[in-house]
Symmetry: C2
Amino acid sequence: MIKDDVLKNIENVYTNPSSCRNCRMNSLCISTSLRPEELYKLDQVIKRGSPFQAQQAIFKSGDKYSSVYAVRSGSVKTSCIDADGREQVTGFYLPGEIFGWDGLADNFHHNTAVALETTSVCEIPYHQLELLVSTTPPVNRHVMKLVGKEINADQKLIALLAANSAHQRLASLLLSISARLAQQKLSSTRFRLPMSRGEISNYLGLTVETVSRAFSYFQRAGYLKVNKKEIELIDKRRLERLLTNPEECD
Amino acid sequence: MIKDDVLKNIENVYTNPSSCRNCRMNSLCISTSLRPEELYKLDQVIKRGSPFQAQQAIFKSGDKYSSVYAVRSGSVKTSCIDADGREQVTGFYLPGEIFGWDGLADNFHHNTAVALETTSVCEIPYHQLELLVSTTPPVNRHVMKLVGKEINADQKLIALLAANSAHQRLASLLLSISARLAQQKLSSTRFRLPMSRGEISNYLGLTVETVSRAFSYFQRAGYLKVNKKEIELIDKRRLERLLTNPEECD
DNA sequence: AAATCAAACTGATTTAGATCAACTCAGCGT
DNA sequence: ACGCTGAGTTGATCTAAATCAGTTTGATTT
């Protein structure tokens, strides 16, 4: 019977280690709060390709928009080319996070997405997701939530860039990464930054020198320890206070 | 008969001056590219309240998210309160444009929306829109397009704030407003800015003094004429060149 | 292990825009 | 017709971050 077949597949969802059901990321990702039937449908639609190498593009600006992506392991930056032809980093994505909504408006990507290290992603073909959305209201609600998160993240960055000092911007990025790692039950105090100083400074609207000096200052002030990309947050409390206060310098 | 009733209502869509069908904005707004039946359903759902006065809030940060809004006439700013308690303007919305997606992620508004002048809006109750989305694929596609536009606009602003000078930022805002007015078949060279210098400078991550000086510089350089909020763009070409070039000063 | 090269750090100097301080001007109420 | 208020402009000064100019480190090649 067809019905038996479906049931057997639903069972697979429970045992297949690469299914959404068993994915370590599922609490953040697209499958959150879906019921088994919905999860099964989603699982059917997701493509799990081979990993991307560091610096490899997942999609490029101008590409036809066909999918959104969830980071499974590794990390990704998205960037666009602005009016004067320079790259502008618009986001960093860690495991469990979704990227690729930038093609929604006109079916072409405006961003380029690049793996920052060896990275595997789940590809969710947008056309399929659209079908799922229109037949399964909880999926619709969840997709809108994810898109909403992207909007809120972008607006948070706007506020950061418009009104905060170099120290505040870097502190904010470090605390954001820390909090996002915590959500994945990873250490929020010791971690390795997947991106270069150049990528950080570009994202924060600063120069590499300023970012480098900010790291040195934070270390001197005892807020953290840096060794290249290795970070240990020592006094998170004071970093947080930096964000709200006009900054008591040196 | 019920069917006759429906037909009669569809007819009303054609004659009722406040229906989406007859709205001057409909080429930009949510009703674009919808077929008569879909348009009719949308029309049924939209609330058209009495206009808001200047400075009046349409929704406030923390409000339960229940609707998105289309500007019918007038204009709106959205802003949020950032970490250190100061206001940060995140967007300006002109006739035909949609705002209010900031509540999508968690059903609470993160922004406050305020009328910049006497403004009338169409309110689209989100729950109803959600129903419409799940029963009418073209509506779904259109809603995703609109949300995508918001994401792209936010990312464009990120790039502007991260990498552009004061002159470039102001030029970019003026050209953006000009282009958006043109879409409404309004003059793209002579217009009245609905927002104050303070709101412009906040949005662009600058001070009022810097914005004021930039206006004066543009006028001296013959790019435009300013009289308080009245703007006449004289040399749009050169303003555009400002955005791409490292800026040939004075 | 010497040579090459890029990323990151640090110091000296410059500068765009912030800050501080007047001043102008258009309402607006009395 | 009067000051009063707040938005906007302009000028003088200050400063955070950019720019310019090395230096250090570490990875990769030979």
